[in-house]
Amino acid sequence: MEKKNKLAILANGLIKENPVLVLVLGTCPTLATSTSVVNGFGMGLSATAVLICSNIVISILRKIIPDSVRIPCYITVIAGFVTIVQLVVKAFAPALDKSLGLYLPLIVVNCIILGRAEMFANKNSVIDSALDGIGMGIGFTFTLVIMGSIRELIGAGTWCGIPVLSRVMPGMSIMTLVPGGFFVYAIVMAFVHYITEDKSKIKDSFGCDGCAIADECVDGSVRLCKRGGGIIYG
């Protein structure tokens, strides 16, 4: 029973609550860094590292942090880990740092991370929070790699830099550009909708689960988030 539970937490982020495709969180880095498999994987890995570490630390501190300053505390912890990851990437993978650029520090405002801190880590034990971080991180990375594969295959004709389609046809570089990002994201999400076919789970609004006031929010429209106490949105 106990073991199954842990497995469920891990699997939750992969499929049922896939942060990108089902919760619609973290759209900016998803679109911006899925231009190639390597970029998507690098971004996914960096965000996963931050997610796991911040989930663990916030879970440890959940009894110490006063409710009134919890958001600033979470942000500080997350920003700290982001900077550490940024320095590590700069030192050991300078090429990745160059291609991720601005989006590396922007992991701070990735709503997946703050969303999981607020929704999961501050209510659950350290181990559960770590598992949740791993699951969500894998879900994020997996989606980025899938989208990166599609965009790289069609856009550049390569996969991970290995020529595949480019042997038979030139790449359609529009796929690696901005419109291609929106387009592939739309198609992948529509495909997930199609295969799950469970409309009750599909959100027609955006990222509400990551919002701190999701309980009070009636239908995902911001106008109804009257209390305005929630800062999580991005």
């Binding site: 619609v24 969180l25 759209t27 900016c28 679109l31 911006a32 958001i71 600033p72 942000i75 500080t76 920003a79 700290g80 982001v82 900077t83 940024q86 320095l87 601005l102 520090p105 922007l106 701070v108 405002v109 990735n110 709503c111 703050l114 529009i174 550009l177 901005v178 419109p179 291609g180 990002g181 929106f182 387009f183 994201y185 739309a186 198609i187 999400m189 529509a190 495909f191 909708h193 199609y194 409309k199 599909i202 959100k203 027609d204 609004s205 955006f206 990222g207 995902g220 429209s221 911001v222 106008r223 988030c225 009257k226 305005g228 106490g229 929630g230 800062i231 999580i232 949105y233 991005g234």
Partner: protein, 192 residues
């Protein structure tokens, strides 16, 4: 002066944040359901962007002078969070009318990546103080512009247009954004 005009036009059309740089996508997709919210969010973001740049740019100079530039991310995000909180408190007390129309959006802005993004990119591109302020203003205007267009298009999307079941909701909005960004690519190279 021409230099500043170029910065603003290039941020609105060529380097439009949501449509060309993937910054501020969440509110761009999420708050563009109706025109009023879109306009309110756009104005609030522009306001916070300029103010945040006005505060973070001098802070970065201070951090650099002390050799602790690596604290950038931590300090910036905390400053933005505090700033938004202060603006909200100030508006609530002194500008009730404005607070009613913009106030609800303010708390959502802290984690808007466009705000932190503009602060960091001002530093990265080595802009001086006035250039940074104009850059932030232009970025905000571009965001407002994109929000209003998107809200207009989504107003027409709703009922009669028979959208396939799988595409209802988020995917059709993303497709709309794809076509919009495709047309914005036409502005590329305006200043080359």
């Amino acid at each position: 002066m021409a230099k500043y005009v170029i910065i603003i036009i290039s941020m609105v059309l060529v380097n439009n944040y949501p449509l060309a740089q993937f910054l501020g996508i969440c509110p761009f997709l999420g708050v563009s359901k109706d025109m009023d919210s879109a306009r309110g969010m756009g104005i609030a973001v522009t306001f916070v962007m300029v103010l945040a740049t006005a505060v973070t740019w001098p802070i970065q100079q201070f951090l650099d002078s002390k050799g602790i530039g690596y604290l950038q991310t931590v300090v910036f995000i905390l400053v933005i969070a505090a700033l938004v909180q202060l603006i909200e408190m100030f508006m609530k007390k002194n500008m009730v009318g404005l607070y009613k129309s913009l106030g609800v959006f303010l708390p959502l802005i802290t984690t808007n990546c466009a705000v932190l993004g503009v602060c960091i990119s001002n530093i990265d591109s080595g802009y001086n103080y006035p250039q940074s302020l104009f850059n932030a203003f232009g970025a905000g205007l571009g965001f407002l512009f994109a929000m209003i267009i998107m809200a207009g298009v989504r107003g027409k999307l709703v009922d009669q247009s028979r959208i396939p079941k799988s595409f209802q909701g988020v995917p059709i909005v993303l497709l709309t954004a794809a076509i919009m960004s495709l047309s914005f690519m036409g502005f590329g190279g305006m200043f080359s």
